[in-house]
């Protein structure tokens, strides 16, 4: 019974990811595209929960859906009509590259499904209940991956300074 529930949740979340991803790139109104992206991020958070990544699912909802998408929506509201993006023609090379990439992914999916039905894929590792919990991730961040932790904080500082520099206007310039 529990296994059926996992499959149902996975299908709904994966279907939501795919549908909202297609909607982001195909909807004409950029506001609706941003809303579709919020749906995509929420579906991904459900998938992360299924993959024993609780802290990352919460961080995804907080950071991406909560902060990044709010920024997007503010900028779309500020731009108004200037944010509209009609479809423009692509070069034939672009079309060929897209078809080749889609075919490659399709072949990969077929191969993986065949291997899974043939029981030739390795089993996932056994994990404890604390896998993906904030405690274990914090421990790793402060021991093995301390450099990544510190550099990420510097990157965020640089991004904040860059945002401020891009947003300031000098007295002489006439702001619209």
């Amino acid at each position: 019974m529990g296994n059926v529930l996992v499959w149902v949740v996975w299908f709904v979340a994966a279907g939501g990811c795919l549908a909202s991803g297609v909607a982001v790139v195909s909807l004409q109104n950029p506001f609706y595209s941003a809303l579709a992206l919020i749906g995509n991020l929420a579906s991904l958070a459900v998938l992360y929960l299924l993959l024993a990544a609780e802290f990352l699912a919460a961080a995804q909802v907080l950071v991406y859906a909560g902060a990044v998408m709010v920024m997007f929506l503010f900028v779309i509201a500020y731009l108004g009509g200037r944010a509209d993006a009609p479809w423009a023609g692509g070069t034939p090379l672009l079309r060929t590259a897209a078809i080749v990439a889609a075919a490659a992914i399709l072949v990969e999916i077929v191969v993986v499904l065949g291997l899974a039905w043939g029981d030739q894929l390795s089993d996932p590792a056994q994990v404890t209940a604390g896998f993906g919990s904030p405690g274990e991730i914090g421990e790793l961040f402060l021991t093995d991956h301390l450099l990544a932790f510190e550099i990420t904080s510097i990157v965020l500082l640089v991004a904040a300074v860059g945002g401020v520099v891009l947003g300031t206007t000098r007295e002489k310039e006439s702001a619209t």
Binding site: P30, N40, L44, A52, Q60, L79, A85, A125, G167, T176
Partner: protein, 78 residues
């Protein structure tokens, strides 16, 4: 480019970064090692910072009357 607005380009970039995150987290679960999740968290932080700077750029372009068209805004190319 199929769609020329830098805003749509940033939205598509978010999708791509999230796809990479999903791969990291899936393989982290498969291997039983948390390092994939750490990397996904770092990707998340860098993507948030990049979106902030990109949106600041778009707003600055709009305020100065530059057309929001990635095919026209190619002064740094080549």
């Amino acid at each position: 480019m199929l769609r020329r607005s830098p805003l749509i380009v940033l939205l598509s970039l978010e999708i791509m970064l999230n796809a990479g995150n999903l791969a990291f987290i899936a393989f982290s679960r498969h291997a039983g090692a948390l390092d994939g999740q750490i990397f996904a968290l770092a990707v998340m932080a860098v993507a948030a910072g990049e979106v902030a700077v990109g949106l600041g750029l778009i707003v600055a372009m709009a305020r100065r009357g530059v057309a929001l068209d990635v095919d026209q805004a190619n002064a740094l190319r080549g």
